[in-house]
Subunit: 200 residues, 2 copies
């Protein structure tokens, strides 16, 4: 079995969302699994010395246009949320709790979180919305209530962010396949060519 | 005749170089002319609040890998120059002086400057190297000597940079076609699809 594709993203990242809609088909074409890693870009941007794309002069306006254009290009429903970017700690914590019980369910949950935010404009910073999405994904939400408030899952998310930085991750989406890093949904064709050819 | 593609770039931009190697074929497939605009990213980065890609923690290492990988992907010869980034004022000034006499020659000169720097490792900050490349492009270099030192061409480059910012340009390569902006050599497939379909 070839190595899985590692996939890092922030639930507040439009390009991360589009990548989440596309990566399964890429992986399936090449018999690869995908390991999903929601992270928090805030602390990473501080280390890299950058800021959220949409906040930058000139670049921000272009980015907003490009988010929507790229989504339409890939037939992915998209509407820039009224509150953007948004806090994604709760969603990331819920993801890892669900993943500990069932990685496939966590994967489904992640797609629901992204769509809730970027297609339906729901407030994914709200723990009640996150719980509703967990329920839609079939998770045992009663079992999530206490752990979601606990220190263990906060530490878990921090560790995931630290591990991401150690792996070189500085943005979303970020992929590593067979040791090769790819940043951005626009690198998916290259990622696929890399898998197909073994690199160049 | 459909509107030309506007193409902004800094001679010190690896992705600008790769785009310069690819854009003519894209334009030819769709009967478009290309208007080349060398600019200086330094003053623009100050306004946008960003820094040269290769200087950023994490992102810089990735970028260097991606420059070379993207060049190989497109069969463009590339070697990251020992001095990178580099001052490109002289090359930009020479470009506009040559363009005033003959735009097609300036276009050829621009490709020579890019290749000299990114394929052959020549010092394009050096006025003698720039003059040699102008001669290779068939320009009357004797007629360039004095204007290249004059204030008029400095003001011309400043105006080009100001106009670029007014048009929304914040990076290299940057294209506008039929009013639609595209940033990055990785947006060329989308730019071409935009021309083909009239947008989506």
């Amino acid at each position: 079995m070839p190595a899985p594709i590692a996939f890092w993203f922030d639930f507040s990242s439009p390009y991360g969302y589009i990548a989440a809609e596309l990566i399964d088909a890429v992986a399936a074409r090449h018999d690869r699994a995908v390991n999903w890693h929601p992270i928090l870009l805030g602390p990473i941007f501080k280390q890299v010395g950058t800021a959220p794309l949409a906040d930058l002069p000139l670049k921000g306006d272009y980015a907003k246009r490009d988010f929507a254009r790229t989504a339409r290009y890939h037939d992915v429903p998209f509407r820039l949320p009224a509150v953007f970017p948004i806090a994604t700690q709760v969603a990331a914590r819920a993801f890892y709790l669900i993943a500990d019980a069932d990685p496939a369910r966590a994967h489904d949950f992640a797609k629901r979180v992204f769509r809730a935010y970027f297609a339906d404009g729901r407030d994914i910073a709200d723990a009640e919305v996150v719980m509703a999405l967990a329920a839609e994904a079939g998770a045992d939400t009663q079992a999530l209530v206490d752990p979601l408030k606990g220190d263990a899952v906060k530490a878990r998310v921090r560790t995931e962010v630290e591990n991401a930085v150690k792996a070189g991750v500085f943005g979303s989406p970020y992929f590593i396949v067979d040791g090769e890093p790819f940043w951005g949904v626009d690198r998916l064709p290259m990622l696929e060519e890399w898998i197909r050819t073994g690199g160049w």
